[in-house]
């Protein structure tokens, strides 16, 4: 009699089509292939459903049939499976796969759109932290502003794409029926506000500002790097406070 580990390894190999599972199955009216196929179908079906759960907007954008086709091809091409026993936000590698899948590879913006959607899922499930409000900053002496390091909210993610993803989002959200994509990039700030994920489209300078914040740079360092005159600091500060961008602050040593 084989041991449990050998049996389970054989199951995995049979799932991957590398061997038959015949030797382990009690024979009767339904063939071992048909019996095993139910498990294979269940596993693949669960992966497919999980991908649709992670990428609902991508599904909407390219349609159920095309997306399901891409999902099954992705699942069958996998070299490894999830390490954790949950499929929450599973499928990080799917957007890269869409670049190579026959039916989607010509949609040049699609992979980036799916990456944006993945970050939206991450943002939704991020840790809870109370955002800073204006009142929290009022006791900071102005001469310390340069040493100020804002801690960004855990639900904040930034994403740059060389494609105008804001236009794609408008189509998916049915704000416009279709769109001629402009030849430009887009800069997204993704954040959870009151239980919902929002995307704020930024200018390149604003994006650089928030990227530096995310890298833990002090306000002084950022202003030096970005160039103080290129943007309105008061405006960006009030945007940040209004949208819950900061969850704390600290100071770098003098």
């Amino acid at each position: 009699m084989v041991d449990l580990l050998t049996l389970q390894k054989a199951f995995l190999e049979a799932y991957e089509g590398k061997r038959s599972f015949k030797d382990f199955v009690k024979m009767n009216t339904v063939s071992h292939e048909n019996r095993f196929s139910v498990y294979k179908g269940n596993v693949e079906g669960a992966f497919r459903k999980a991908l649709e759960g992670t990428y609902p907007l991508t599904w909407k954008l390219i349609g159920q049939k095309c997306a399901d086709g891409a999902a099954y091809a992705f699942i069958r091409a996998q070299k490894s499976y999830p390490q954790e026993g949950t499929l929450l936000n599973w499928g990080r590698g799917f957007p890269e796969f869409l670049k190579t899948f026959e039916a989607t590879k010509t949609l040049s913006y699609l992979s980036d759109f799916a990456k944006l959607e993945y970050l939206m899922g991450e943002s939704l499930c991020a840790e809870e932290k109370t955002p800073l409000i204006a009142k929290d900053l009022k006791n900071i002496p102005p001469h310390h502003y340069g040493r100020l390091v804002f801690i960004v909210h855990p639900s904040l993610f930034l994403f740059y794409s060389p494609y105008p993803l804001d236009q794609v989002v408008e189509v998916v959200e049915e704000k416009v029926p279709s769109v001629a994509l402009e030849n430009r990039g887009s800069y997204a700030l993704i954040i959870r506000q009151e239980g919902q994920v929002k995307i704020h489209w930024l200018s390149k300078v604003e994006f650089t500002f928030f990227s530096s914040l995310l890298n833990g740079n002090s306000l002084g360092e950022i202003l030096e790097k970005v160039g103080e005159r290129k943007f309105n600091f008061q405006e960006i500060l009030s945007f940040s406070l209004k949208n819950g961008v900061f969850s704390g602050y600290t100071f770098v040593a003098e």
Binding site: M1, Q8, L12, V30, N42, V43, E84, G85, A126
Partner: protein, 280 residues
């Protein structure tokens, strides 16, 4: 009403808002903890609100107690965090495995009913129960194949597991029916073989039939339809045997309006209250 005569419903995302808006008269809710393994966000907050109104059961699908390799410690920790936050009145898992070589295959895969598997499964239940600091229930799965190496029947294996570990049973009546049809078991004999005192929860669900190209067929535990007549009859039989326990209506695929689940729950309540002889 005592909780063991209450009927609950498996709560799925599309029904959250309805439940919060209407607070329907339902005994309790059950969710899969793995759907709440996130650090924060609206899903956890919604579950907080559900918990304010209803008793909650956590029904795991990914711990993989039947794996030959060791339990995933991260999974146990996340489960414990949820238990501490939501204080569920029941915590359950399956008689199955889903992890090999550290990789997760998302299904309830069948365990061979051997002495070695019994030893490994018992050790994993011991580890989970001591880590979580509470008793867990083990559910009989629907299965689509039997191993030729098995030396015990499924009820024998379940009884022995509980005896060794102090765990209790979640008896899924639909799964008994599905597996019985798929393997030629006698579902009544299965019920009678289960130690009565071990049953702490009952599941009811719908299934479907898959017919293969060669004309053979299997029942599949799809949770996609009403509880069928034969499963109701088996439920009545279980109650007659004395298995009165909190009962859950499970519906996961092709989810209908919540009112449909309510009607199924009312039917189950009728059986539990009347304890009538409806079978045999």
């Amino acid at each position: 009403m005592p909780i063991n005569k209450c009927v609950g419903v498996g709560l799925r995302l599309p029904h959250y808002q309805y439940v919060l808006d209407n607070t329907p008269s339902i005994g309790w809710f059950e969710v899969h903890p793995e759907n709440f393994f996130m650090k924060g966000g609206p899903a956890l907050r919604l579950l907080d609100r559900i918990c304010d109104e209803y008793p909650l059961s956590l029904h795991g699908v990914g711990l993989s107690l039947g794996s030959a390799e060791r339990l995933n410690q991260n999974h146990l920790k996340q489960l414990k965090t949820l238990i501490e936050r939501f204080s569920p009145f029941l915590v359950s898992e399956h008689l199955s495995w889903s992890r090999v070589r550290g990789q997760y295959l998302p299904d309830l895969l069948p365990v061979p009913y051997t002495d070695e598997a019994l030893e490994i499964f018992s050790n994993h239940i011991d580890e989970a129960q001591s880590f979580l600091g509470r008793e867990i229930l083990i559910e009989n799965p629907s299965s689509y194949l039997e191993y030729n190496m098995s030396t015990m029947t499924e009820p024998e294996f379940l009884n022995a597991l509980c005896q060794k570990t102090g765990a209790k049973l979640l008896l899924d009546i639909n799964n008994i029916y599905v597996s019985s049809v798929n393997h030629g078991w006698d579902p009544s004999f299965y019920l009678k073989s289960i130690s009565l005192s071990l049953v702490r929860e009952i599941h009811l669900a719908g299934h479907s039939q898959k017919t293969f190209e060669d004309g053979s067929s299997l029942l599949i535990d799809t949770h996609s339809s009403h509880v069928c007549e034969k499963v109701w009859a088996l439920y009545a039989e279980a109650i007659q045997l004395g298995m009165v326990a909190p009962t859950l209506i499970e519906w996961d695929t092709d989810l209908p309006d919540f009112e449909v689940l309510m009607r199924e729950a009312r039917l189950a309540e009728g059986y539990l209250k009347e304890k009538k002889v409806a079978y045999g």
